[in-house]
Structures are given as structure tokens and as C-alpha cells.
């Protein structure tokens, strides 16, 4: 797992957000396009791509994409 690939998968869940705005340090819940449906899409994407079932709280408790990536890595251990 590498974060660049994760960021690519993450960015794919957005339609109107410039991919350049999405970096490890992005506070993703502050993105204009963020919504509860985006959260569900991120959970479904992580299940599909990484075989990890995130909880809603994992999204709530992570501020940056790096933090969320770390949570996914942690589940993989």
C-alpha cells in the first residue's frame, strides 16, 4: 500500500474537486464537495480496494488523508 495510490482512489470519489488539492495533509472534511454520501463512498472504496471495513467513526476521527491512510494500514496489520 502506498499513499499516492490511496490518494488517487480517494480523489476518484470527488467530481468537482481539483486533484491537486488532495494531498496527505488535506483536511478532507473541509473540502466543499464533502458530504455524507462521499463518506459512504470512501468506506465502500476502501472495502473494494483494500478489503478493510472502515467504521463511520474512523472517518470522523481522522482529520487528514494521511491519518485515514494510517488507519487503513493499521487494520491491514
Amino acid at each position: 500500500m502506498n499513499i499516492q495510490e490511496f490518494i488517487g482512489n480517494f480523489a476518484a470519489q470527488f467530481d468537482d474537486t481539483d486533484e491537486a488539492l488532495i494531498t496527505p495533509d488535506t483536511k478532507f472534511k473541509q473540502l466543499d464537495e464533502w458530504s455524507s454520501l462521499t463518506a459512504l463512498s470512501i468506506i465502500a472504496m476502501v472495502d473494494d480496494e483494500y478489503d478493510v471495513i472502515l467504521k463511520g467513526n474512523d472517518i470522523i476521527n481522522s482529520e487528514t488523508i494521511q491519518e485515514l491512510f494510517d488507519i487503513v494500514c493499521n487494520y491491514k496489520k
Partner: protein, 254 residues
């Protein structure tokens, strides 16, 4: 008050034998307990023997008619259940599952899983208990569907909702066809009900609390709210009602 008035209860289930599926948890569990309290003899089924045992312990001994642990999506286990059933005056098919998944992730596999549990299993059970005449004349069947089958009540419930819509459709055809034996078939479409199913963490507790505010009556349903609807549909009080989907949703879909 005279004695007759005290005993008047058109919703009584006295003398009726009723099957409840999904009885080890949530709505099914409460339906089994409430039916027993209304005088029914209940046969319960669910996947988990241990949790079924907990339900049995809550039933008055005279109300307990049988228990079969079975996964209704497995044909052999479904057959074993049917073979073990006494003649039935009622059935509440409450076994089901849910998933929260945006449609773009709703693969055929996800649909198959959901339809297997929520549609094919109850429909096959309904078909067989009618065909094999396990259902007595005049019996009443209640399918537990959902407002998810009639409304996009929450994002990400398309796969679940489609399975419940399909179930509701079969209910109406069964109601018409089974009327020749005076067997009634109705469904209940609950809004969000507070059961273990909704506390799996995809939706956070905070989001659930927020969502509950969208219900005019100010809260999510409780399993007993649905059980009371099932009692009405099983009782002779609803003798002239068939093919109906009873929405119990705190006013959500109004």
C-alpha cells in the same frame, strides 16, 4: 364493568400457532415475545441457537411451540425447518439484512447477497408453506419489508431498498392468489427501527441521532412498534385486510 367487556379483545392471538423468522434478534425477537404475550403459541427460527435460547427463556412455557436454528438461505436448512413445522395460523417473516452502499459500488455480487437474504429466502419459505399446506386455511402471513422499498429514505440504501421493494411486490401477488384458501398476506414497511442492524458503525451514532430528528414523531422506531402492527395483521381484527403494506415510520414518509 361486566366481565364480557373486560375480556373483549379482537387483537387476541389465543389459539393461533405462529412462526417467526429472524427471531433471535431485533424486530423478529420482539414479534415472538409480543405474540406469545397475546396468547399465541410461537415457533421461532434464526441462525444463532444461543440467541434463540435467550428468546425462549423470555416466553411463557405454554407459548413455546418449537425452535429450529436455520440459515434460510441454505436450501437444506430451509427444507429442514419446513419439515419440522406444525400447521400454522400465522407467520411473520422478519429475517433480513441491510447494507449501506452507494449504488456505484452495488455490484451484482452485493445485490445477490442482499436479495438472497431479504427476498429469495422469505419468498421460498412463503411459497413452500403455502404449497405444502403448512398454512391453515385463514392463516395470516406478515412480511417485514421497509420504507426503503418505497422511498430513498437514506443515501446508500439502494441495494437494500430494491430487495424490499421486490418482497413487497410478491406480497401483493401472494395476497391475491392465496385468497382462495382465505390466507391473507400483508407486509409492514417500517422506517428506521433501533435494532442491532443499524449499529454496525458504517453510520455513526451521531449521524443516527441526527437522522432520527427527520422523523415527525421525534424518534426512530422501537421493535415493539413493529410487533404491535404485526399483532394486528395476525389477529382476526384484520380479517378483511390482505395485500396491504402497513407503513409504520413515525410519520417519515408523510
Amino acid at each position: 364493568m361486566d366481565n364480557n367487556m373486560n375480556n373483549y379483545n379482537p387483537f387476541s392471538l389465543e389459539g393461533k400457532t405462529i412462526l417467526v423468522t429472524g427471531a433471535s434478534s431485533g424486530i423478529g425477537r420482539e414479534v415472538a415475545i409480543q405474540c406469545a404475550r397475546m396468547g399465541a403459541a410461537v415457533v421461532i427460527t434464526g441462525r444463532n441457537q444461543e440467541r434463540l435460547q435467550e428468546v425462549i427463556e423470555q416466553l411463557p412455557p405454554e407459548a413455546f411451540k418449537g425452535c429450529v436454528a436455520a440459515d434460510l438461505t441454505v436450501p437444506e436448512q430451509l427444507d429442514a425447518l419446513i419439515a419440522a413445522l406444525p400447521p400454522l395460523d400465522g407467520a411473520v417473516l422478519s429475517a433480513g439484512n441491510s447494507t449501506t452502499l452507494p449504488l456505484q459500488f452495488g455490484t451484482r455480487e452485493k445485490f445477490d447477497d442482499m436479495f438472497g437474504v431479504n427476498f429469495f429466502a422469505p419468498v421460498e419459505l412463503l411459497r413452500l408453506i403455502y404449497k405444502k399446506k403448512v398454512l391453515n386455511k385463514g392463516a395470516s402471513v406478515v412480511l417485514v419489508a421497509s420504507i426503503g422499498g418505497t422511498h430513498s429514505f437514506m443515501p446508500g440504501n439502494g441495494v437494500y431498498g430494491a430487495s424490499k421493494a421486490a418482497l413487497n411486490s410478491v406480497m401483493k401477488y401472494a395476497a391475491r392468489e392465496f385468497a382462495s384458501r382465505r390466507v391473507r398476506v400483508n407486509s409492514i414497511c417500517p422506517g428506521m427501527v433501533d435494532t442491532p442492524l443499524i449499529h454496525r458503525g458504517t453510520i455513526t451514532e451521531e449521524q443516527l441521532a441526527e437522522d432520527a430528528k427527520r422523523y415527525p414523531l421525534g424518534r426512530y422506531g422501537r421493535p415493539v412498534d413493529i410487533a404491535h402492527g404485526a399483532i394486528y395483521l395476525l389477529s382476526d381484527a384484520s380479517s378483511w385486510l390482505t395485500g396491504h403494506d402497513l407503513v409504520i415510520d413515525g410519520g417519515f414518509s408523510v
